[in-house]
């Protein structure tokens, strides 16, 4: 069976290296996945006789802190990639380590938020609003966990590739970064839609 060859340099026909095109196609499918949920949100909200204001049920200061945490992690992620462009592995380790730390902080805050809801007996089955809130933020949190696994791998054992194939490793970090920025991008919409409107 033929396999798709790994190309470090951009292919002349696509203008991209294969992994980058692959990740963009994957992100396109992710847009549709979250798009279906946003569409469901509109359907539920317009079809509901009354809809609560997110601020009356959810914790805005915690969600706002999480927004700052995620946008900071996007900066550290892109800085990790930029560090490899100037061939500085030490800086890469620092910035990708910071990204990991911020991702964990995001999840810890999310755990506090969820447990406060459960403590007040607010579950996904309590109301339509809470059902869509837990579904959307839960799926987003799963994406954060996915990001932690991949970034953690490249921060740890995966970074050995830098010694053998530095350019390939830099490309890998670039595509991981694309995924991570997408996770940030989804939160940018989730925050106002669920918490503020």
């Amino acid at each position: 069976m033929d396999t798709i060859p790994y190309t470090v340099q951009a292919r002349p026909d696509t203008g991209l290296y294969n992994a980058k095109l692959g990740v963009w196609l994957f992100l396109a499918s992710e847009v549709m996945l979250f798009g279906a949920l946003f569409s469901s949100y509109i359907l539920l909200r317009t079809g509901s006789p009354s809809w609560p204001n997110g601020a009356s049920i959810l914790n805005i200061p915690l969600a706002m802190t999480n927004t700052f945490v995620l946008i900071t992690s996007s900066v550290t992620m892109v800085m990790a990639w930029a560090s490899l462009k100037i061939k500085n592995l030490k800086k890469f380790k620092f910035y990708s380590g910071m990204t990991l730390l911020l991702a964990f902080i995001f999840l810890i805050i999310k755990v506090f938020e969820y447990s406060a809801k459960f403590h007040h007996e607010l579950y996904p089955g309590t109301s339509t609003f809470l059902a869509i809130y837990f579904t959307m933020t839960g799926l987003h949190a799963l994406h954060v966990i996915g990001g932690i696994i991949v970034i953690g791998y490249f921060w740890g054992p995966g970074s050995r590739m830098w010694l053998i194939e530095p350019e390939r490793f830099t490309n890998r970090i670039e595509v991981v970064g694309l995924y991570w920025h997408f996770v940030d991008l989804v939160w940018i919409f989730l925050f106002p839609v669920l918490y503020l409107l």
Binding site: L16, F38, S40, T46, G47, P49, T67, F68, L185, P192
Partner: protein, 113 residues
């Protein structure tokens, strides 16, 4: 992504400017939500700011500002389907209300019985 000599300092400066812009817009979104809570204007402003923030992330952190044509093509197609998906419920909104009326009727019948 542009080729040639990589300018690290210029990129770092750009990332920091984008970060401060994103942080400022987050604060503005929250402030507006308190002033225009639940109003149509508040919703419109919040969505507009979120779109600007998302564009900044996509253009500068994801480097879409200098990407290849094929990526734009993929994203253009995705955008068309995404917008279609968002407007699908609004297009069918009359069926939603009919369905709701049907449900309330059923409920009333059950209560009488």
């Amino acid at each position: 992504m542009s080729t040639g000599v990589y300018d690290y300092k210029q990129d770092v400066r750009r990332y920091l400017i984008v970060f401060f812009a994103l942080a400022t817009m987050t604060i503005i979104t929250v402030a507006v939500s308190y002033i225009e809570s639940g109003k149509a204007m508040g919703i419109a402003i919040a969505i507009l700011i979120a779109t600007i923030k998302a564009s900044l992330v996509a253009c500068y952190f994801m480097h879409l500002i200098s990407e290849k044509k094929l990526v734009y093509l993929v994203l253009g197609l995705t955008a068309i389907f995404f917008i279609g998906l968002l407007f699908l419920p609004l297009w069918e909104s009359h069926s939603i209300f009919e369905g709701m009326q049907h449900l309330s009727l059923m409920k009333a019948v059950r209560n009488v019985a």
